[in-house]
Amino acid sequence: MRHTSAGQSRSNYGALCGLLLGALALLVVAPAVLSDFRLSLLGRFVCYAIVAVGIGLAWGRGGMLTLGQGVFFGLGGYVMAFHLKLADAGPSGVPDFMLLYGSGHLPFWWEPFRSPVVTLLGVILIPSLVAFGLGIAIFRRRVRGAYFAILSQALAAAFTILLIGQQVTLGGFNGLNGFRSFFGFNLYDPVNKRMLFYIAAVILLITLAVVWQLYRSRYGELLIAVRDQEERVRFLGYDPANIKLVAYVLAAAMAGIAGALFVPIVGIISPANVGVVPSIAFLIGVAIGGRATLFGPVLGAIAVAWAQTALSESFPSFWSYFQGALFVLVIAFLPAGLSSVSLLRGSWQRRQRFGTRAGRMAAPQADAAPSLPSESGLSGISAGSETGQ
C-alpha cells in the first residue's frame, strides 16, 4: 500500500465530511423540505441503503456476490412483523389473519416474539446465525464466484416458496400487514412516522461508521486481499473462510435490521419483498453507486429507488423502459458505478500527464484497492440488470 499517513488522514477526513454531510442531509434538510409522505418514502429508501452498505462490504470489499440478501432482509422483517402483529392482538391474543384463514391457534414459535427484547435481539441474531451457519458450510468448502452467487439466489427463491406455502402461519402470498402500533406508539400518527424515519437514518449513519472503521482496519485490508487473491492469503497463514464469514454475517445483520425497520415504515412484509427480484434490486443500487466505495452503495441504492418512484409517477405506463436504459448506460459507461466518475477523471488526467501506454496501465493498478475488485464481479452486474425490474 502506498498510502502515507498523511494520505490516510486525508481519506479519513473525507469520510468524516461525508458522514457529516449525510447526517445534515438526512436529519436536518430532508425533514425540513419533505412532506410526511415523501419523508416516509425516503425512510424506505434508507432501509434499502442499509442493506446496500452490507452488500458493499460483502461484495465490494469481500468479492462475495450475494444475490440473496432478501433472505436476511425478510428474516429481520418477519421477526419484527411477528411482534407487531402480536402487540396489536393484545396480551395472549392471536393475530387477525390466523383467526380468518386458520384454526385460530398460535404456533409455538410465534410465542417468544411477544417480548420486545426477544424481538430486537431476534432481528439481529436470527439473520446473523443463519448467515453464520450458511457461511461456515459455504466458505469452508471453498465455494466462491458464480457458484456462491447461484447458491445465494437459489436460497432467496426457496425462501419465498416456503413463505407462500404458509398461508395460515406466515400470511402466505399476502404476507403480514395492517400493523397499528410500533412498541406502543400509534403508527397512524404522522409524528411517530417521522420518528421512524429518524431512527432509520441514524441507524444508516451508524452502519456507515462501523463499515468505515472496518475498512480502515487491518481486517479491512485482509478482506480486500482475500477478494483479490484468496490463495495467497491462505499461504500467508490466514484462513480466508473466517475473514469472509465475518463480512457475510455483518452484511446479513445489516439486512435484518433494515428489514425490521422496513416493516413499520412501509406497513407490509410479503414474499414479494424478499425474493429473487428484490434481492437483485438491492444489488443493482450497489453496482450503480460503486460497490467498493464507502458511500457509493448508499447513494446508488437511494438513487435507484428514487428514480424508480419519480419515473413511475411521471410516466406511469412506460417508466420501466427509462429504468432499463439507465442501467444499460451506467453499465456500459461506468462499470465501476457512479462514484467512479471522479476516478475516470483522475485516470484521464494521469494519462494526460504521462502520455504513455505504460502510465495508463499503471494508473488503475494503483487505484485498484479502494475502487475496483479485479474478479468476475462485472459479469454479475450485467446479469442483474437483465433479470431486474
Binding site: L20, L41, I164, E313
Partner: protein, 420 residues
C-alpha cells in the same frame, strides 16, 4: 496535529446533528391516546375549484398488467362519460393515474402518494388480494376511500373500502348451488397457491360437507406455474363430477391445454372457473375452453340496453376487437356509484360519503346494484355462464335477483366456525 483536531471536531459534529435530529423529532401519540383514522383525518382534498381529483391505481407494468390495464381503460371511459354529462356535483373529474407495478408495496406507496400529494377525493383500483391488503392501512390511516373492483375471498369489511366485485356468497356459493342442482356428487379442487383459492376451497369444503358432495382431491400450484401434467393426471384418476378451478392468470392456459390433451371434456367432467373472463379466453385458446363453465356477475352478452350502450361505448373508444369483462364492468360501476354517493351526500368528504352510502343504487350494465352501508359491499346478481363458440360467455343460469353481500358468511349455517 491539526488534522486530528479537525477530525475530532467533525466526529462530534456528526454526533450533535444525530442527537439534535432525534430530539427535535419528539414522540407522537401512544396507542389508545387516539383511535386509528382520527389522528390524521385532516384531508387536503381541494373542493374549491371547478374540478375534483380522483386517483386510478392499477398495475400498468408487471405480471398483472394484462388484466389491470383493461380495468384502467374501463375507468377512463367512465370518467370521460361522467365529465361529458356535467361531472360530479358540478365539478369535472381530474384523473391522476398511478402504476401499481403488480407489487403490493408499490400499491401502498402510490396510494399514499395519491392521498397525500395529489389530494384525491377517492382512489379506484387494485386487483390482487395482496395489493388490497397492502393498501388497506394506508386508506384507514388517512381516512380516505378506495373502490376495489374485483371478486375476492371475502372476510373483510373496511370502513374505508367499497368492494364492488363479488364476495364469495355472490360467486362461489351460487356456483356450488348450480352444480348441486345439476346433480354433481363429487368435486376436485384446483387452485393457485395464495389466499383467494385457499379461502375459497375452505368454504367449498364446508359447503360440500353440509350438502353431501364428496371432495375427491385438492391441488395447489404456485402462481405462474405452467406444468400441469401431474395435476391433470390426478384429476383424471379421481374421476370427480366436476372440477372447481381457482387458478389465476397464466396457469389457466397450461391447465386447460393439458386438460384437453388428457382427453377430458366439458361433457365428461366440466370445469367451473372463477377467474376466467372474456378477456382471458383468447389467451387460453378457444378450443381449450369452449363449453366450460364460469361464475361471474357480468358477461358481455347480457341483453339489456344499458349493457349494449356500455359495450358499444367501450368498443368505440378502444377498438372493435376489445371485449368487456366482469372486473371491468365492476370498475365502471364503481365510479358511478361513488358519483351517486357524493351527490346524495352533497359532499366529497369520506365521512359524509360513508354516511350516505347505504342504499345507493346504480343501474349498471350487469343490472341494478345496491350498496350495503354496513359492510360496504354491493348486492349483485350471480350468473353461471358457458364459454360459447363465439369466444364470449353466455349465461346459463341466474340467481334471478341480486344477492345481498355477506362477506363473513354469517347467514349460512354450514359456514359457522369457518371464519373465527
Amino acid at each position: 496535529m491539526s488534522m486530528r483536531r479537525t477530525r475530532k471536531r467533525l466526529l462530534s459534529a456528526v454526533a450533535v446533528v444525530m442527537v439534535a435530529g432525534l430530539v427535535s423529532a419528539g414522540c407522537g401519540s401512544r396507542v389508545g391516546a387516539s383511535g386509528p383514522g382520527s389522528s390524521s383525518g385532516s384531508s387536503c382534498v381541494d373542493t374549491s375549484g371547478n374540478s375534483i381529483k380522483i386517483g386510478f391505481l392499477n398495475s400498468l407494468s408487471g405480471t398483472m398488467a394484462i388484466s389491470e390495464k383493461t380495468v384502467h381503460d374501463s375507468l377512463m371511459l367512465a370518467a370521460e362519460q361522467i365529465n361529458s354529462s356535467g361531472g360530479v356535483l358540478g365539478k369535472q373529474l381530474q384523473v391522476v393515474s398511478e402504476d401499481g407495478a403488480s407489487e403490493p408495496t408499490t400499491f401502498a406507496e402510490k396510494a399514499g402518494k395519491l392521498i397525500s400529494s395529489d389530494c384525491v377525493a377517492a382512489v379506484f383500483g387494485g386487483w390482487t388480494s395482496a395489493s388490497r391488503k397492502a393498501m388497506l392501512p394506508v386508506f384507514e390511516g388517512a381516512n380516505s376511500l378506495l373502490f376495489y373492483p374485483v371478486q375476492y375471498e371475502g372476510l373483510e369489511a373496511s370502513p374505508n373500502i367499497f368492494y364492488t366485485g363479488a364476495t364469495t356468497n355472490q360467486q362461489i356459493i351460487p356456483a356450488l348451488d348450480y352444480l348441486k342442482q345439476k346433480g354433481v356428487k363429487s368435486l376436485f379442487l384446483v387452485g393457485s397457491d395464495y389466499v383467494f383459492p385457499r379461502t375459497a376451497n375452505k368454504e367449498i369444503k364446508a359447503y360440500a360437507n353440509a350438502n353431501g358432495i364428496e371432495i375427491k382431491g385438492e391441488e395447489y400450484a404456485p402462481l405462474g406455474y405452467t406444468d400441469f401434467s401431474t395435476i391433470v393426471n390426478k384429476v383424471k384418476a379421481a374421476g370427480a363430477g366436476a372440477v372447481f378451478n381457482t387458478l389465476n392468470g397464466d396457469s389457466n392456459v397450461a391447465f386447460f391445454k393439458e386438460y384437453r390433451n388428457a382427453g377430458l371434456s366439458p361433457a365428461t367432467m366440466p370445469v367451473v372457473s372463477v377467474s376466467i373472463a372474456e378477456e382471458e379466453i383468447g389467451g387460453i385458446g378457444l378450443d381449450n375452453v369452449v363449453g366450460q363453465l364460469t361464475a361471474w356477475n357480468y358477461y358481455q352478452t347480457i341483453d339489456s340496453p344499458k349493457n349494449a350502450a356500455f359495450v358499444q361505448a367501450f368498443k368505440a373508444k378502444y377498438g372493435q376487437r376489445r371485449v368487456t369483462s366482469d372486473p371491468m364492468e365492476a370498475a365502471y360501476a364503481s365510479l358511478f356509484l361513488w358519483k351517486a354517493m357524493a351527490e346524495k351526500a352533497k359532499s366529497f368528504k369520506t365521512d359524509d360519503i360513508r354516511k350516505a352510502a347505504d342504499g345507493v343504487s346504480y343501474d349498471a350494465p350487469e343490472g341494478t346494484v345496491t350498496v350495503n352501508g354496513e359492510n360496504h359491499h354491493i348486492a349483485k346478481t350471480a350468473l353461471i355462464g358457458k364459454v360459447g363458440p363465439d369466444a364470449l360467455i353466455h349465461a346459463e343460469w341466474s340467481s334471478g335477483a341480486p344477492i345481498q353481500p355477506d362477506p363473513f358468511l354469517r347467514t349460512y349455517n354450514w359456514a359457522r366456525g369457518l371464519t373465527g
